[in-house]
């Protein structure tokens, strides 16, 4: 059988439980997520239009701020922290479809129901926008809509890459791909760090890669013994041989000895 993660059923975070609204004066003007967000499509002078709609919220770890199947009322922009996006099967099997970091725009999905749930992995900050009201702003700024289309296209590319991973890569290739993706900086122009922190648990990684925690753990320790990576602690990763990891992740033939 397929693995069933002991993932708890989602508990919806409401403003009363786990989501605190922060009173921030002129939030967009000095938002450090702006350069990596769709918001940068707006000029400085138009920023107040956005700021007027934005509710700045803090989501506590473990709290769900988007629930699969519910009617989507808001758009979100993640300004800090990391969230997991996932879908569940009725028996509890979970597939994490992505992790949302700073700059990630959520809630594009049209239609009657959210296609996935979003849950704070660690403390998360989001800007929340009413769908209907943001819709109006969008109509006034075609550049914003164009930017949104660009991010959607990028996400589509990432989704296709993930399908290749889930459908055709081995556990080793999946873990290598994952680690390299985690090492990718927010802005592509920046150099990727050789050492970084994993905010998610092994269970999250497993549910993202279509594996079990045991397989993830075993694969990581094997990469460690082969000196491709180091693990100062379970959540700290050091990439020791990026070239071989890249070749592994890309699905190149394993070199024989």
């Amino acid at each position: 059988m397929r693995p069933i993660s002991p993932a708890p059923r989602p508990q919806l975070g409401t403003p009363a439980t786990g989501m605190a609204a922060l009173a921030v004066p002129d939030p967009c003007a000095h938002c450090d997520a702006r350069p990596v967000s769709v918001c940068s499509a707006l000029e400085e002078k138009d920023l107040h239009r956005l700021a007027a709609l934005a509710e700045v919220l803090e989501v506590a770890p473990g709290k769900t701020f988007i629930a699969e199947g519910e009617k989507p009322e808001h758009f979100f922009n993640v300004t800090g922290g990391t969230a997991r996006l996932y879908k569940l099967l009725p028996d509890g099997r979970r597939q994490i479809t992505g992790f949302a970091r700073q700059g990630h725009f959520l809630g594009l999905a049209v239609g009657e129901a959210n296609a996935f749930s979003a849950e704070a992995l660690e403390k998360v900050w989001v800007c929340r926008f009413s769908r209907t009201r943001l819709r109006q702003v969008l109509d006034d700024f075609p550049a914003f809509e164009r930017r949104l289309l660009g991010t959607a296209a990028n996400e589509l590319v990432a989704a296709q890459e993930q399908m290749l991973l889930l459908g055709r890569k081995t556990a080793r290739e999946r873990v290598a791909s994952f680690l390299l993706a985690q090492a990718r900086p927010l802005r592509p122009c920046d150099a990727p760090p050789g050492r970084f922190h994993l905010p998610m648990t092994r269970t999250d990684i497993a549910d993202y890669l279509g594996l079990t925690i045991e397989t993830v753990s075993r694969t990581m320790t094997r990469l460690k013994t082969e000196k491709l990576i180091a693990l100062p602690s379970p959540a700290e990763v050091v990439l020791l041989d990026r070239a071989r990891l890249e070749s592994l992740a890309g699905g190149f033939e394993e070199e024989r000895f």
Copy 2:
């Protein structure tokens, strides 16, 4: 090891090989793909703007009209036939990320290179647009861009559903999901047919579902012996018990006997 399909390396279709330009007067005006395409975002009176850019092409079966890794020069709109969209690993493992049918818009991916290849499964008709020139038309019609965003969002939802399938569903659940998806009509309002034709081979199905042809075949014959489907011929499918197929596809507990 993961399965390696004997998928031939892509051979790029050029106008000289496998892609025939058709001289069609006023192509958009009586295009039967329009109601299900992004083109319907334009009003009748503006349609000539689009028609002026559209090249109507016929792609022969097996010909590639988008090549992964190449610089994207065009957008495509599929007006007839079916194409497979896929990614390859260097050793030939293939993941089909989707099948493009009538109304499917291709080439959204921004960036330097196509994220996937597209190949005609059977004879395919496409409208081809120069990227730069369509870009200009898009600027004049925000409704068109909005519609594009809508389709991108829909594709994203489909991609997430497919990740759930690839990461967490059993072979049985995958095949059931696939058959039900194939039975879905082009316009959601239409009733789904109980009997339909599969334009793709078992190899295509396997590469789409992250399985091997043997597993696909075995799973289909098992569904047949269990009277959930009938297969008058390998490519003809009849859904005999849609309810149980839906429950299987949705990942509900298998009923015990």
